[in-house]
Symmetry: C3
Amino acid sequence: MERNMNLERQIERLKELKTQLYQKDFLLTWEKSEDELKMVLEVAAILKNMREQNISSKVFDSGLAISIFRDNSTRTRFSYASAANLLGLKVQDLDEKKSQIAHGETVRETANMISFLSDFIGIRDDMFLGEGHKYMLEVGAALDDGYKQGVLPVRPGIVNLQCDQDHPTQSMADLLHLKQHFGSLEALRGKKIVMSWAYSPSYGKPLSVPQGIITLMSRFGMDVELAYPEGYELIPEIVDIARRNTKESDGSFHISHSMEEAVKDADIVYPKSWAPFHIMQQRTKLLQQGDSKGLDELEKACLAENAKFKDWEYNEEKMQLTKNQDALYMHCLPADITDVSCAAGEVSKGVFEKYRIPTYVEAGFKPYIIAAMMFTNRFENAPGVLKKILERDTKRVNF
Amino acid sequence: MERNMNLERQIERLKELKTQLYQKDFLLTWEKSEDELKMVLEVAAILKNMREQNISSKVFDSGLAISIFRDNSTRTRFSYASAANLLGLKVQDLDEKKSQIAHGETVRETANMISFLSDFIGIRDDMFLGEGHKYMLEVGAALDDGYKQGVLPVRPGIVNLQCDQDHPTQSMADLLHLKQHFGSLEALRGKKIVMSWAYSPSYGKPLSVPQGIITLMSRFGMDVELAYPEGYELIPEIVDIARRNTKESDGSFHISHSMEEAVKDADIVYPKSWAPFHIMQQRTKLLQQGDSKGLDELEKACLAENAKFKDWEYNEEKMQLTKNQDALYMHCLPADITDVSCAAGEVSKGVFEKYRIPTYVEAGFKPYIIAAMMFTNRFENAPGVLKKILERDTKRVNF
Amino acid sequence: MERNMNLERQIERLKELKTQLYQKDFLLTWEKSEDELKMVLEVAAILKNMREQNISSKVFDSGLAISIFRDNSTRTRFSYASAANLLGLKVQDLDEKKSQIAHGETVRETANMISFLSDFIGIRDDMFLGEGHKYMLEVGAALDDGYKQGVLPVRPGIVNLQCDQDHPTQSMADLLHLKQHFGSLEALRGKKIVMSWAYSPSYGKPLSVPQGIITLMSRFGMDVELAYPEGYELIPEIVDIARRNTKESDGSFHISHSMEEAVKDADIVYPKSWAPFHIMQQRTKLLQQGDSKGLDELEKACLAENAKFKDWEYNEEKMQLTKNQDALYMHCLPADITDVSCAAGEVSKGVFEKYRIPTYVEAGFKPYIIAAMMFTNRFENAPGVLKKILERDTKRVNF
């Protein structure tokens, strides 16, 4: 009962937020206002709270949530399935290999064909620089058209499950983790977060996680430090967004080229491998040309280049340099853990083990973040609907 | 409120129809009476209407709808998933590659093994002439046996999602589109519909769409014209059905060998590629023998033959010949569109663009046609159940 | 009404059973007490009874049931999907090929990542001797840890869908079949059941079915005879369990090396191929080493060895030797049927045909056994919840 009063208060506080999330796709966090980001965070926390109290938040009696995964996924796939199921939707995966799409069907057409009874489309498209976000916009325009023309009874909302620019379901889950860890968004002000490149035996990892982290964390007055070996740049325009954000939020933004330097006095460290921007550009071109020999050569050259930076491992020594020798370690998982998943990786076994459970907790927010994105897209008066859910008091497990 | 009175009236009118759809598979439209076809059309329209008014038509609290796709599919797969979800069923796909069926398990056995808690089985099997329909009958007989013997608690209904002979979920969706476009089935009387072969850079497309169209549209007093280059015959027995139908319905049936001639004064044109009947027979044999060299040679020969008929493109010139220069263009999608999906195809870019949205609307009826086939299979008193759904007034989106 | 009184009585009788199934994984039948086995059997029978009377036993409003199939499956896949759906859960399959798990992610991590909103994990892992059961324990330990650490809101229950040691959903379904066929568990006392190796043109079939059968049927005072050609041993420790069981239950246990001798006066025969234990050990090693040449050679040698025992076919002659020439024939399906699925197999066409329908009935219990395992894992007071379901009286098909 007392906990439900907490829920009531949580819901009540939402009313202070001015948002225009209703019927808007969630593609890039930097297109959303601070209030909108807060709304998604809070709704996610409320839905999680409800789930843990066995309160069903099912709001759809039927309906499909389409998923389009143009790259492998476990965590996000399960998070999306969990979110859809939580709200009462059924996931229908568009497996482009089993479809008839191959022979030149337009995105415009496919987007409509799969949407007649759909409420959401979740898309992961992170392989090609310059493509993923563009594709989502194209799908969105097709859905707008279909809805306007009376083809679709509702305009399905799009949830970006990772594109070439941003990975908002990840960064928002990460932010909710920070909020709960440090107590509030306000508490993040002045905290130092280091988004650092780290060595990995593989190459070609997307840029969207580091880009998502620096552009989002810079909204809340944090001191954001981006560290990478020279040459491992992110997309410059997106780094600029992060820089601008810190100015507006009274935080700071720095780029450095030493993990050791960067982690000094850090409150939070996020060591993760990625491929250099210019390599991703070449890789995109080779992938589009289907040039497998070129890709092999590029991979070889990159791995050789990477190998020069094996000391970019986050380990006990570096941890000692952080605030109270205990900066919160974050990762989107799976991490390349030295002596666990590889001989030399992003993080030492000991450090990972110390923060293993927190990284699991971090990952556990993602289903609710996705559900909150869906919820706020669909209900103009999200607080009102949450209140009704609370009053209805349907149990998730019935007995 | 007024719209619900419309719904009530729509439901009320169903009572005039004499049907025996209850517990009967929906395999071929020509096995169904005119009243039965009307019932499926009307129930589909009512379910669509309900969905658009946010009225949940969920009638199953649990239960599986099995799908067996022996050929690729996007539209039909999503339509089937949507239909099942609309009524409260969960799609379970029988992926024959992931199953143990390979080593000689009989259809008889598999049909029962997947049906213990199933309400429907949707089957697409259109690759082999002489096989698809036969397979569905075999599954049906196995289910009859299992039900009679007490193995199955209910006899799952079979929905033909495309076989070698017919594609009833497509043709019925097309018919519902025509009904709504022209205002009534009665308004179709005397209208000229042209089912025309059209050039495509691929070959081996199934015959079931043109066969489905001519056999169904011939039931409603239309002037049906079937046009194709000499040699591109459909299955003769099925063409005979269409011919017989037009006699009985006071329409007419003609075969011609020029798209230009055929489309003159047409009210509706359906230009679509298919493989010649005799080629499909050869192809079936080669596929069954696994003769990939033979298949390659056949493909080459066919494509060369096809290439002689590149002028069988439906374009602006031909459109000018139709009734009011504006015959309704139809296609089951995806169409081979010249300069969009290929260099030369079934339809010119301009014409397709003009009728693009109507083809999307056309496709949008399929989920409801499938749902209506399920609904009428399961409920002997379909109008009564629809009335109860209306009275119950559960919202699809709850708040 | 009278039938519901039967249901009430069935539920009432459950209260006599002392069980600790609540929140315990169902991995091996020999870890469960006799009362626990009876509880699962009875709950399965009740759920089946309810389903057949159109009573919905949905207890979850939302929630996921994960499946991990490390080997092909049709029957068990559909049974698991049916069970989950019956209780209101949505199956989410972890397709290890589409996931990011490949690069060294730990079981510990994956188990948590897929479980944030999951209620059950069903696992089939029967390819490697010494691996399947171990893997399930590892997943279980990871879930325990995640739950204890607050990562998971509930501890998902694990259902063994076949491991290297046991196949409890199969053997329990088989036992329920025997119970219903002979009238009661008590009636099985003194009945002779023969688990016999049989010839098959394939090799490498898992040991878990015969092991599951002898360890379970030996609990109920049956005379268990295990027959196989010399060299086709099962795992010795597991055979010992069966031997011990018969002593405790006042049954008997024998091993013989002639199908003909074994089936004499049998009440029940279960002829099924399996690979010899020592071959499975070699095979496991070769599979783990990815030694495809070695595997080919082993297969060749084994098939040659197998071929010496083509007379291990259960046929009319052997059937004549059984009790009243009519022992109940059992099989987990699909069987290798001579002249149906192969030239020479486990059972003759005539005998299989005679008992075909009973084998389907046998298979039909599996979905309910799985549902009962889930149900008793989740509800401490299973009889109480079943009673509430009966009182609630929600229809599965609503109208």
